[in-house]
């Protein structure tokens, strides 16, 4: 039953019911079998389905598969390892709780999980009242992390072609638009915060975000 026409909920219920097997992507039949055949090879979707059911082995593999990326994004937004630790934990708990709301037709597990991570990080930063006075859009990151848009950068095994496509598409954007998109997505800034950090009018910031995302979408379509 649709919950008042809110498509985002997908009619899958607000909370995961522990102990009930997921029917995600119709792959529930794959959940139990891979234990003997090498669970590291299980698809992300099947892994998420197993994670939702409370399968211990699936849960461990799920966390290990994504923890570096989840923590990396959390660190990029919070810029504090302790905060990032908490945010990343929150993200995995939220993912477990809402795994049934994942719709494979609308995106990938990693994108969905990283979206949850971003939201968790932004929520935490805003509730803590962090103003990011130290944020420098153009300066080196004191945490030693940098945007992985360079094709020469070594890619982890799970960062297959999709990452390279996004990186190329992102790099094709004009610098101001790429800067704006990175700020409001990977840095977790609001448009207003980005405008302040970049010392540009709010309208200009909005325009950069708008044009940048459209151009990125077009570039991704071309790549695909």
């Amino acid at each position: 039953m649709a919950a008042f026409g809110v498509a985002a909920f997908g009619g899958r219920g607000a909370g995961t019911v522990p102990g009930v097997r997921s029917d995600l992507s119709g792959e529930s039949g794959d959940v139990a079998a891979p234990v003997e055949t090498g669970m590291w090879d299980v698809s992300d979707e099947a892994l998420l389905a197993g994670y939702a059911t409370g399968d211990a082995e699936m849960a461990v593999v799920f966390v290990r598969r994504f923890q570096a990326r989840v923590f990396g994004l959390a660190l990029m937004i919070t810029r504090d390892r302790t905060e990032a630790d908490e945010v990343a934990q929150d993200a995995f708990v939220r993912a477990w709780r809402y795994a049934r709301s994942f719709d494979a037709r609308r995106g990938t597990v990693s994108g969905w999980l990283l979206g949850i991570t971003r939201n968790a990080a932004v929520d935490r930063m805003r509730m803590a009242g962090n103003r990011r006075e130290r944020f420098d859009l153009r300066g080196p990151d004191e945490l030693g992390i940098d945007l992985a848009v360079d094709d020469e950068a070594p890619l982890a095994a799970e960062r297959h072609d999709a990452l390279a496509q996004v990186a190329r598409s992102l790099r094709s954007l004009p610098d101001p638009q790429r800067e704006a998109l990175v700020a409001v997505t990977l840095r977790g800034l609001s448009t207003r915060e980005y405008a302040e950090a970049a010392e540009i009018p709010l309208g200009t910031a909005k325009t950069r975000v708008r044009l940048g995302l459209r151009r990125l979408r077009d570039a991704l379509e071309v790549e695909a």
Binding site: A14, A148, A162
Partner: protein, 268 residues
Amino acid sequence: MSASTSGGGGGGRFRPLGCDEVKDLGAEFALGLLDGADRAAVVAHLEGCRACRSQVALLAEAGEQMLLVAPSAEPPPGFEQRVLDRLGPQGVRPRPMSRLGPRPGRTRRRNPGLGASSGRWFVPVLGVAAVMLVVLGGAAAVLRAGDGDGTGNGREVAGEHPQPERSTARLLSSHGQRDVGGVVIFDSDPRVVEVDMAEWMERVAGWDDPPPGPWTLAVERADGSREQHILALADDPRPRIPLQSGGAPVASVAIQDGTGHVWCSATL
């Protein structure tokens, strides 16, 4: 640009947006950057415009893909176990990963002291907990009937059809599926809905452009019937709302602002 209210004050409805205006706001909406009036106005437009909905969905997908390029970073030692502890209600420690096999391309185990149990570690625990809840719920119903506060219905339910005394669900935001609060349905007559949005209301209070009131609790029952109740969330972020007596069980609840925009909902 900004969507404006036609009526002014907190309860006015938004000026309907055209496709061109939504096109301007679509990127920020897709990235979750819009709050308040703008967001509500875009949502209202998207509900009736398939073309714009499709465009925004593409933008949202592109925004999600942006996150893929975030750099990885090794979490602090013990991270995996902390996550697993939070998932398991009693912090059950997994056993070594004897059945998982080696991880492709990796020769080093990141947390050699940690691993998985061979079974579904939190399923059985939660299963036991669920049984206990049912038992306790039945016992509570018996006790309630014994106290003489209820009617014969309570006694009948406790004696012949033990059911959970209440049901709970999380309230998820309509964008981003953020956990913004919880809801408890007390299975009394009349049924009572308890909403907890204290944390989220604190956040809303800090917005430059908070959603217009009044907040409304919209309830949909299993038979499709609906009812609405005004909430004073600013004064009481944890209100208890008695519903109309009788009727079908509650199927879902939603929290709407003064424009009718659904901010969050929960399905029971």
